[in-house]
């Protein structure tokens, strides 16, 4: 098999895909759902319901505000209890619509039949409008509003759609299960996105540690002209947009540019199913697959969860948090973030929850940098992490800008390889945000 990968940097952490064998199962409905209005990148949605309003599954409860924003729909049926601030994965309170669940009544416009609708009747613009109405965002974790991605500006030429089915984060298996169980929807969803972009070619990139997914998608893709499957060497962070483009098309996205500038659009595989459901079944995005895993967790699972379900409920469904659990990670172990408590609700961006025990969660005490340059070798963006860390420590923001601190994608490879356990990423993230703020202020002047 011809395995492609990106050329610079990268690491290969232990895969620990413990939940790969667990089929997708529907999680129980919560008693009370906490649906955040800012589940996407960009401006939070504006609430359009009030306390006491009756809502159904799929009712619009938050309207997108501004260009980069997404609509939010109710994931449950019941009565709006309040619109209040609830702690989300950021660790801070953010506005959310709290709904007391009563029954499970869906909006009648949603087609709930299980049959596969293969024929695409909508045209380019209608598809993009549909994505906007349905509040579709990238389900890989960045939650970028999908409709914005598919509004290709005048003058930009796109020739390839890349479907990101890499799932390079250890532990997570939600995309893997989607490919195995919903391969037809993935392919039709891909065709819808190809129509939206007006391209003839789509490549699905899958890492070689998912041979069953490669096999099933390669077989089924034969019925869909233009779609091919590309097996990739296992290497973190291959699921990063720029790295995936380099691996599959051998094109390099220049610093500060977008995939559009090199003629492609990258879309997560989980999103294609959401796109299929939105366009063919008129179903807005209000549920997603969440991996529940952890070395000591009694049962590993991949749940189909309604957005707004408290994570505690999912953990309880897996037999409860085992003793000695030190951290609950929202997302993958490399880029995810420890949660402040487990009452945090699932959002559109929750790809998984990992329960990490004391031994794995502990961060070693940092030692002195010995200039071994392991971080430099590991950085997939070709930066010098040790240097940017020091610049952040001494607040040398102008130097950090020259070292392209703003190009960091926070993959964490540097920190992962550092033998001295230095807090590289913590400081680089600080440098990145500060440099970006300085740039914004400069452009305002």
């Amino acid at each position: 098999m011809d395995l492609k990968t990106f050329k610079i940097g990268g690491v290969h952490p232990p895969e620990n895909k413990l939940s790969a064998g667990a089929p997708i199962e529907a999680a129980a409905l919560p008693k009370r759902a906490f649906i955040h209005l800012g589940q996407h990148l960009g401006a939070p949605a504006k609430p359009i319901v009030q306390k006491g309003d009756k809502v159904r599954v799929g009712t619009l409860i938050g309207a997108g505000e501004g260009f980069i924003s997404a609509a939010v729909h109710s994931s449950v049926s019941g009565t709006v209890f309040a619109i209040d601030a609830v702690v989300d994965a950021s660790g801070y309170k953010r506005p959310a619509v709290i709904i007391d669940v009563e029954g499970d009544e869906w909006e009648p416009t949603i087609d709930r039949s299980p049959e596969l609708k293969k024929d695409i009747s909508l045209d380019k613009k209608a598809i993009v409008d549909r994505l906007k109405e349905a509040g579709i965002v990238g389900l890989g974790g960045a939650t970028f509003p999908a409709h914005v991605k598919y509004m290709v500006p005048e003058g930009k030429k796109v020739d390839t759609l890349i479907i990101n089915a890499v799932e390079c984060e250890p532990y997570l298996t939600s995309d893997h299960r989607v490919m195995l169980e919903r391969a037809d929807e993935v392919l039709v969803g891909t065709r819808i996105l190809m129509t939206a972009l007006g391209v003839e070619r789509a490549v699905i990139g899958i890492e070689a540690n998912k041979p069953d997914a490669i096999e099933i998608l390669s077989r089924k893709a034969k019925d869909h002209p233009g779609i091919t499957v590309q097996a990739l060497k296992v290497q973190y962070p291959q699921g990063a947009e720029k790295q995936l483009i380099k691996a599959i098309l051998n094109r390099e996205v220049p610093s500060g540019k977008l995939p559009l500038d090199v003629g492609c659009v990258v879309n997560n595989v989980g999103t294609t199913v959401a796109v299929y459901e939105a366009v063919q079944k008129n179903k807005p995005l209000f549920e997603r697959i969440v991996t529940l895993t952890g070395k000591k967790l009694p049962r590993k699972a991949n749940f189909l969860v309604r957005v707004g379900t408290p994570i505690t409920q999912l953990i309880d469904a897996c037999g409860g948090a085992p003793e000695g659990t030190a951290k609950f990670i929202n997302g993958g172990p490399m880029m995810g973030k420890a949660m402040v408590n487990t009452d945090i609700p699932v959002t559109k961006g929750t790809s998984g929850v990992i329960l990490v025990d004391e031994a794995d969660a502990r961060r070693n005490a940092p030692g002195a940098c010995i200039r071994c340059a392991k971080c430099v070798a590991a950085c997939p963006m070709g930066l010098e992490p040790y240097l940017i860390e020091k610049q952040a420590e001494y607040a040398l923001w102008e130097d950090a800008e020259k070292e392209d601190a703003a190009d960091c994608m926070e993959c964490g490879c540097c920190q992962f390889t550092c033998p001295a356990a230095r807090p590289l990423l913590d400081n680089i993230r600080l440098a990145k945000t500060t440099v970006m703020r300085i740039r914004r202020e400069r452009s305002k002047k």
Partner: protein, 296 residues
């Protein structure tokens, strides 16, 4: 024999002479006229190069002051550590009037000690407030409170701050604080405020910046301002120095007369004063004339 000594002396002498003439001519040609006042002004500044004025070091400020003096107004410029004494002396040198500025002091506005706001989480990232602030609400769960990692202490160039291990909060020594404002800039949560020193060092302030509703704030901190408004009512009618906004009281130092009445009514003891507030008049018995009003 003598030629062996004489020739080098003559040769080197000649080279030295030519070099001296060249140096003299270049020095004349490229001479930079520097305002002698800059040196004089710089001498009057403290020389700590703290950057509190916003200029690169004391000389940077001196240059800016002289430049402003040429335009006729040095009003907007000041040296926080030097205070009005330094500015007055500078004004005399430059022959300009300087408005009297009130001496200021940095004040911490968080009462979330270990005791009042117990730590429920453990942060193990890089020990800097700016980084912890982007990650979560803090170990005690207060989204506005002190993170306790001491960014303010690190930047204090005057040794006026230290972390109190017992409370987990920084302590400001008002005697050493020169009001350069470095800590105010360093705090990602804007907890430290620059307030006037007050007459006879009498200051009253709300020791909290939390804007959440009272019930929510009390869940994680017993010393939070709960926005009850008692202090607003207690403040003498003619003074009205306290305003309530976003569930948070704020005492305007310009209006406050430092009577200390609000300190006594605050149910969470979130209002602090630098002096012992006078005890409320006992209702039943009339106190003796020499009521123990603490001398200021």
């Amino acid at each position: 024999m003598s030629a062996m000594i004489l020739y080098p002396v003559i040769m080197l002498g000649a080279v030295a002479g030519i070099a001296a003439i060249l140096l003299f001519l270049t020095a004349k040609k490229f001479h930079v006229e520097e305002d002698p006042r800059i040196d004089k002004v710089a001498e009057l500044l403290p020389g700590a190069n703290c950057g509190g004025c916003g200029y690169p070091g004391c000389r940077g400020l001196a240059e800016a002051i002289v430049k402003a003096a040429d335009k006729g107004d040095i009003g907007g410029l000041s040296c926080p550590p030097g205070g009005s004494t330094a500015m007055k002396a500078i004004g005399e040198v430059l022959g300009m009037a300087v408005a009297e500025s009130e001496p200021m002091v940095a004040v911490l506005r968080c009462g979330g000690t270990h005791e009042k706001a117990p730590r429920t989480l453990k942060y193990d990232g890089a020990p800097k407030c700016v980084i912890a602030h982007t990650v979560f609400a803090g170990e005690k769960g207060c989204p506005n409170g002190c993170l306790g990692l001491g960014d303010c202490v690190t930047v204090c160039a005057f040794g006026a701050m230290y972390m109190d291990e017992k409370t987990g909060l920084p302590v400001i020594d008002p005697a050493k604080c020169v009001a350069c404002g470095a800590c105010v800039k360093a705090c990602p949560r804007k907890i430290i405020e620059m307030r006037p020193k007050g007459r006879k060092e009498r200051r009253v302030w709300v020791n909290c910046v939390n804007t959440e509703k009272g019930a929510a704030a009390m869940k994680y901190c017993k010393a939070a301002c709960i926005g009850c408004g008692k202090c607003v009512k207690e403040c003498p009618e003619k003074v009205q120095a306290i305003t309530l906004q976003n569930n948070l009281a704020y005492i305007d130092p310009k209006k406050c007369i430092a009577c200390g009445k609000c300190v006594l009514v605050c149910p969470t003891k979130a209002i602090l004063a630098t002096f012992e507030p006078p005890k409320p008049k006992p209702v039943e018995a009339k106190p003796a004339e020499a009521a123990p009003a603490t001398p200021a």
